[in-house]
Amino acid sequence: MDNIGVKSGDVTLLEVLDRVLDKGVIIAGDIVISVADVDLIYLGLKVLLSSVETMERLRGAPFPSPMQEAT
């Protein structure tokens, strides 16, 4: 059987960037990491990356508009 749905012990960099740092309720702290601050993380990441267009690609839409869900 596939081990689909099972999460490994460590949270991957992917999930860190995709969930923990990008989502969740983002209001009303005295300090909260803003969208601009998250770019700092990508800046840190970019040190490890060779790709210059990463930032651009990250901002890109995943699919042409019909695929986007408003809900």
């Binding site: 969740g24 702290g29 990441l45 890109g60």
Partner: protein, 272 residues
């Protein structure tokens, strides 16, 4: 007199039932809950030298720091989530004092209760689909009549004409690849959405972040009724095997704290 190190209050999540902290206490130096009008904030004290506004910005560039702290954030929330419904907060939500946190709970309390009510008996699951473009291409090349036709033309064409035909072939190939990716992404998303009470499409992430060879073609999150989780995972499994040979792979993970499904009805900033 020596000043004590300034502390900040770090908020992990909000619950309606009293959170059981015992299992996750070991993950951080300080963990406690702050109760205010029927809601609990799961919080811990952190040092200003690490999480203060300027220091935080400096640390955010340090990927290993981010990874370690974000993992702790996630683990604390996952631990609390085992026993009760949570509203996960974004990494790095900080208050100067517990009173600041209580003031926030005062302002948003009713909305949080509504959201927690909606999240009851539901789980967030993530589905990411990747594509081995080369493998997809080789599958397409054998089957598309237009592409086969151009290939034949190339064989008998002059050098100059062959150049343009090759360009045409590459274009046809790209169109066919995009069509397949869109079709598969769209179909999979629609099927998974049918088994969910809510669904989101998120931005695609590059290979440097995914740490995978294949390209991400769909990044989606679903809010699934606890009763439907088996069906949902079963569907993800069947999608996984169905198109494996064409070069698609499906990653289904969960249950996650409902990061994608705890938005306030009206987006209100602290200045708003």
């Amino acid at each position: 007199m020596q000043m004590a190190e300034k502390q900040l209050v770090y908020l992990y999540c909000v619950t309606e039932e009293e959170p059981k902290l015992r299992e996750v206490e070991c993950l951080v130096d300080s963990l406690y809950s702050v109760h205010h009008k029927g809601l609990y904030g799961v919080t811990g004290d952190v040092e200003d030298s690490e999480f203060g506004e300027e220091n935080l910005k400096r640390n955010l560039v340090d990927l290993e720091w981010v990874r370690a702290k974000a993992t702790t954030h996630e683990k604390v929330i996952e631990g609390i989530m085992k026993d009760t419904c949570v509203i996960p907060f974004k990494f790095g939500t900080l208050f100067n004092t517990n009173d600041g946190l209580k003031a926030m709970l005062e302002v948003y309390g009713e909305e949080f209760k509504t959201i927690l009510g909606e999240l009851k008996n539901k789980q967030e699951w993530g589905v990411k689909i990747y594509c081995d473009i080369q493998r997809l291409k080789s599958g397409i090349a054998d089957r598309q009549p237009e592409i086969l036709e151009v290939e034949n033309e190339i064989k008998s064409a002059s050098v100059g004409k062959a150049y343009f035909l090759k360009k045409k072939k590459a274009e046809l190939m790209e169109q066919a690849v995009n069509k397949k990716i869109n079709q598969y992404g769209r179909e999979s998303f629609a099927l998974l959405k049918d088994l969910s009470s809510a669904a989101r499409i998120n931005k695609l992430l590059p290979k440097e972040v995914t740490e995978k060879e294949d390209d991400m073609i769909l990044n989606s999150a679903f809010l699934v009724d606890s009763d439907s989780v088996l069906d949902f995972v079963g569907l993800a499994n069947s999608l996984k095997t169905q198109y494996e040979d064409a070069g698609f792979s499906v990653d289904c993970t969960g249950p996650w704290p409902p990061y994608n499904f705890c938005g306030l009805p009206k987006a209100r900033g602290r200045n708003g």
